[in-house]
């Protein structure tokens, strides 16, 4: 059964006034101390922007349980692909990072400023945010859960039974044996020695927060039509910045099943530096 966590489809039916009220509410919440972007010049209103993470394997749109091919020719299919997005910021022409306010399904500032993109949950790959209108040169984000919440309390390693979605225990992104969140989960099968073998990568721990910057023109119009399409190219998770193919999807068990060590570290470096997330032209 598919659990639908977010209902974003109502956003663009909302009047601008409601969105503005959400911004004002954000300014009053302790858990969003940075609040919405500060008005600049005449851009006094925060406007909505929809950020879509479209998953691909190379140029082929990603479909669960469908055979795809890595850049070094390994066939694989993904059953689960999930990751937490946090610390979203737009980058203006001067290089200044402009915070954006992530909204939850009720179009209120998200409690933790974090969204779970889960390709098993339709619509969860579309994030609704409020930001300042304008032209930007890129977007930055983290894949992961910050160590501390906005109010300074423990978040990544806090008591998850007290946390709300998307950080609830039942999101199935939590290590109960080592309290902390799985930032990125990718599970499936790869074709190894003429048979399908399982691969399971669960990436977490503070030191494995992925800081990602995607450069390119981003326009946030002054109305509710703002759209930013990002490409999440799964294949690039398996290519190092220097062009090697690690972790090895066709390797030994230790290469294919990991939550630490070399395979996990490679995935983090690749996620940050090999173009996992790019602006989709």
């Amino acid at each position: 059964m598919i659990r639908v966590r977010y209902r974003y489809h109502v956003l663009f039916a909302l009047p601008a006034a409601l969105l503005l009220s959400a911004v004002l509410a954000a300014g009053c919440r302790k858990d969003t101390p940075s609040g919405p972007p500060a008005p600049a010049g005449n851009d006094t209103a925060a406007v909505p922007l929809a950020i879509t993470f479209n998953a691909f394997a190379g140029n082929a749109p990603f479909l669960p349980d469908t055979v795809m091919t890595t850049e070094n020719g390994i066939q694989y299919k993904v059953q689960r692909l999930r990751f937490y997005i946090s610390q979203l910021e737009l980058i203006d022409s001067s290089g200044t990072h402009v915070p954006v306010t992530l909204l939850d399904s009720a179009m209120q500032p998200a409690t933790y400023g974090i969204a779970l993109v889960d390709y098993g949950i339709p619509g969860s790959n579309v994030l609704r945010v409020l930001t300042r209108r304008g032209r930007y040169n890129g977007i930055s984000m983290a894949i992961g859960v910050p160590r501390l919440a906005f109010d300074g309390s423990s978040l990544n390693h806090g008591d998850a039974s007290t946390h709300l979605p998307p950080l609830d225990v039942d999101a199935d992104m939590y290590w109960g044996w080592k309290p902390g969140y799985i930032f990125l989960k990718i599970e499936g099968f790869s074709y190894v020695a003429k048979q399908w073998e399982q691969f399971v990568y669960h990436i977490g721990e503070d030191k494995r927060m992925m800081s990602i910057t995607a450069s390119g023109a981003v326009t946030v119009p002054g109305d509710s039509s703002g759209q930013l399409r990002l490409k999440a190219n799964i294949n690039r998770l398996f290519v190092t910045p220097s062009g090697n193919y690690l972790p090895n999807l066709a390797g030994e068990l230790a290469d294919r099943v990991a939550n630490s060590g070399g395979p996990a570290d490679s995935l983090v470096i690749n996620g940050q530096k090999s173009g996992f997330i790019t602006i989709q032209q």
């Binding site: 998850a160 007290t162 609830d168 225990v169 109960g176 044996w177």
Partner: protein
């Protein structure tokens, strides 16, 4: 030979009763309890309680009901109390615990005695609080294989539970109060009324001659047991590789720290009630205390991380008997028969 008893004593004090237990800060709607919530044995330090989960009788009662409730497992087969048996000092007599659908776990369920004094939980110490510890057995596919949401749905359908949650936390059932209540009950499982404790409190007749000789061996420099099993709870709360394997399938503490130097290290367990908690070690691989003593006298397996204190030594047959007799004096009959811990 002088017995260095200060190794294992924190000082003699009269029985201290933790009654109020920060009740002033509790959210419970109940009044102060008529009886103490935890009996702190003589020589034991005062336990600490988290600011957001003060101990109350209603929380303990709710936690006990949850602890023994098999509804917490997917199939209704397994409760916390299925693997933590009071007659075994809340340990599991099976080498590995069995979860839903007969699935075998990966480690031996440890005794829950004196968990209120621990600062980390599980054999690898990966979990820092009892509240967080309570999550894992519930969600582990090999144990209860549940979601916290489903647990809440089940208990919320029971008016008795709804009333208990309201009394304990002034709330409808919620995941955080499931884990907080279980942690509250586990905190009450304090064990410190063994014959050894009576001896420590001045009753020189509490131990037999054999047990006294065994105590000398335990705290002596030949067996060196006390280097790790020290203090009122017979543990230094550290992690040690005691050389039971040359190569560890279960990496132990390394799973938490990602440090190869921690491979094969596991938490030093309390030895209280040790005669009741067989089998031994993290994987229940030693069936008897005699096998454990054999292991230590042999010096263990060669592993890069085997602790320096693990090296061969010799015990006579009498010394072996005495040492095991002393370990038996750590059994707390009151703890394993106390009706307030019983289902």
């Amino acid at each position: 030979m002088m017995i260095p008893r200060m190794h294992h004593r924190y000082g003699r004090r009269a029985l201290v009763l933790v009654a109020a237990c920060a009740l002033a800060s509790a959210c419970s709607t109940s009044g102060p309890p008529a009886t103490p919530l935890i009996d702190v044995p003589a020589g034991f330090p005062q336990p600490h309680f988290p600011d957001d989960n003060a101990l109350t009788s209603d929380r303990i009662a709710l936690g006990k009901k949850l602890f023994y409730d098999k509804q917490l497992s997917r199939t209704g087969e397994v409760a916390c109390g299925s693997c933590h048996l009071q007659e075994n000092a809340f340990a599991d007599p099976r080498p590995l615990s069995i979860g839903v659908n007969g699935q075998l776990g990966k480690r031996n369920a440890p005794s829950l005695a004196n968990m209120v004094y621990n600062t980390s939980y599980f054999w690898d110490g990966g979990v820092p609080t009892l509240e967080q510890q309570a999550i894992q057995p519930i969600i582990n596919p090999l144990e209860m294989n549940m979601t916290l949401g489903e647990v809440v749905s089940r208990v919320a359908a029971d008016p008795a539970y709804v009333d208990m949650f309201r009394r304990a936390y002034n709330s409808e059932p919620r995941p955080e109060f499931v884990t907080k209540a279980i942690a509250s009950f586990v905190r009450t499982l304090v064990s410190g009324h063994s014959r050894y404790d009576r001896y420590e409190q001045g009753d020189t007749t509490a131990l037999t001659a054999s047990e006294l000789r065994g105590m000398n061996i335990f705290f002596g420099e030949k067996a060196e047991c006390f280097h790790c099993h020290i203090g009122f709870n017979f543990t230094n709360n550290g992690y040690r590789n005691n050389g039971i394997y040359a190569t560890y399938v279960d990496k132990g503490r390394e799973l938490i720290t990602e440090d190869p130097a921690d491979e094969g290290k596991f938490k030093v367990p309390t030895l209280r009630n040790i005669a009741l908690t067989a089998p031994y070690m993290h994987d229940g691989s030693f069936e008897t205390l005699d096998a454990v003593v054999n292991h230590y006298t042999s010096g263990g397996q060669k592993n890069p991380n085997t602790d320096a204190v693990i090296r061969p030594f010799t015990l006579t047959a009498q010394e072996r008997t005495d040492l095991i007799a002393f370990l038996g004096s750590l059994t707390d009959e009151q703890f394993i028969t106390d009706t307030k811990f019983r289902k």
